[in-house]
């Protein structure tokens, strides 16, 4: 069976304002979904709802055709979430942070050191994360994705705080993931450039 992430009739209000209504999407392995729209249009909210962090007003997110509320852990087992908050402990070193994270979700069979090298983090392993720059911290968050075996990547503004080189790195990492049969949903303020066909949802 091939994996599939889908949602239909997704509706969400913030206060009394309707962010989106009757929204649907379907994602198969190797596909990328971009959520676009200005600030406050509900990109992040939609992403958080798919991640199970936010309750929808109505509608269902399905993983392999099973509704999320029926089996929350199945999707969480196959998903990794990159928010605008990096979720790292400033007092701990990069290695200490990632070692803790490794116990939180299934890990891919990749070499720890090679992932860090790929992201240009291999010289920073002994420093407390607090002393890294914002861009470097985003790279650590990317390492979290690469180290996990999760099939679905949910990314909220992955290129924020990154220079052009960093943005290229993110695009390359995402593309590698998709080429491996992964899926990604990315909320992006600016255009997210990858050399492949993408699905788009524009929110107003």
């Amino acid at each position: 069976m091939t994996a599939k992430l889908s949602g239909d009739h997704l509706t969400l209000f913030r206060g009394d304002r309707c962010l989106f209504k009757g929204l649907r999407f379907a994602l198969n392995p190797g596909e990328l979904l971009l959520l676009e729209g200005p600030n406050g249009s509900g990109k992040t909210s939609l992403l958080r709802a798919i991640a199970g962090l936010l309750e929808l007003e109505s509608g269902t997110v399905r993983w392999n055709d099973i509704p999320m509320h029926r089996d929350r852990l199945a999707l969480q087992n196959a998903m990794v979430w990159m928010s605008h908050k990096v979720g790292l402990k400033g007092d701990l070193t990069l290695v200490e942070n990632l070692r803790y994270e490794a116990a939180l979700r299934p890990q891919a069979e990749v070499e720890f050191a090679s992932v860090l090298k790929k992201l240009g983090l291999n010289r920073l392993t002994r420093l407390p994360v607090r002393s890294l720059s914002a861009g470097q911290q985003r790279r650590v968050a990317l390492a979290r994705l690469l180290l996990s075996s999760a099939m679905v990547w949910l990314m909220d503004e992955p290129t924020a705080n990154l220079d052009s080189e960093g943005r290229k790195l993110v695009a390359a990492v995402v593309q590698g993931h998709l080429a491996n049969g992964g899926m990604a949903i990315i909320a992006a303020h600016q255009d997210f450039e990858v050399d492949m066909p993408v699905q788009r949802i524009s929110l107003q």
Binding site: L92, L104, P106
Partner: protein, 232 residues
């Protein structure tokens, strides 16, 4: 790409790693552990200054004062239980991880108890000594505090989860937790007073023990639910 059905090695590794992480953080910021302890000692020192140094009186009020001071010190440290995790986003990572959230909530309570409850129990003899509390009574005091602080870490985690991310969360947390903590205080302090007066201890200790089990079965689930709501 590895199999999507790949499961975690076991249920315990996530919570265990969380306890280790929080212990490591406590070691790197010893102030977070020491401040409630100083607070505990200071509240305990206020009473003799306010009430007078009469030995008889101090012995009489000692257990109650130490219990109230411990309760307040626990409350002080509870306030920050989820705050840092909430602010830096690691709470969100816990919420989306496939490790069952109640297990992680329980681990947070355990880590809190190790860094706040246990140290309180360990410094109690020193403070009890200044109140001229006898050794045998001090033993019972430590035992009641040991059981009581476990309950408070569990119960308090619910309050901390409900108030995380709210403005004026500190005062609110006290308002939520103090009335609920009253049975623990009553049984803890009264058991010690009864022992000091030469009565039996079994009843109070049984109650405190039973309350720990009740909280173990209720608090992690309530905390997990509250965390999901607070982080929305």
């Amino acid at each position: 790409m590895t199999s999507q059905d790949q499961a975690l090695p076991d249920l315990l590794s996530g919570p265990k790693a969380l306890i280790v992480r929080d212990a490591l953080l406590a070691l790197k910021r010893p102030g977070d552990v020491l401040n409630p302890l100083f607070f505990f000692a200071m509240v305990a020192a206020l009473f003799p200054l306010a009430v007078g140094p009469s030995e008889e009186q101090l012995q009489l009020i000692g257990p109650g004062v130490l219990w109230v001071a411990a309760l307040l010190a626990m409350l002080l440290s509870l306030n920050s239980l989820f705050l840092a995790d909430y602010e830096d986003g690691s709470l969100e990572q816990m919420l989306v991880s496939p490790v069952p959230l109640p297990a992680l909530a329980l681990a947070k309570s355990a880590a809190h108890w190790l860094s706040s409850g246990l140290p309180l129990v360990l410094v109690t003899p020193v403070i009890a000594m200044t109140y001229q509390i006898s050794l045998s009574v001090t033993g019972i005091l430590m035992l009641t505090l040991l059981l009581g602080t476990i309950s408070l870490s569990l119960l308090g985690s619910v309050g901390a989860a409900l108030t995380v991310g709210l403005h004026r969360g500190t005062a609110l947390l006290s308002l939520l937790i103090l009335p609920l903590a009253m049975p623990v205080l009553i049984f803890g302090a009264r058991t010690v007073s009864l022992v000091a007066a030469g009565d039996g201890v079994a009843g109070g200790l049984y109650f405190l023990g039973a309350y720990v089990f009740l909280m173990l079965s209720v608090a992690p689930f309530a905390t997990a639910t509250a965390l999901r709501i607070s982080n929305e």
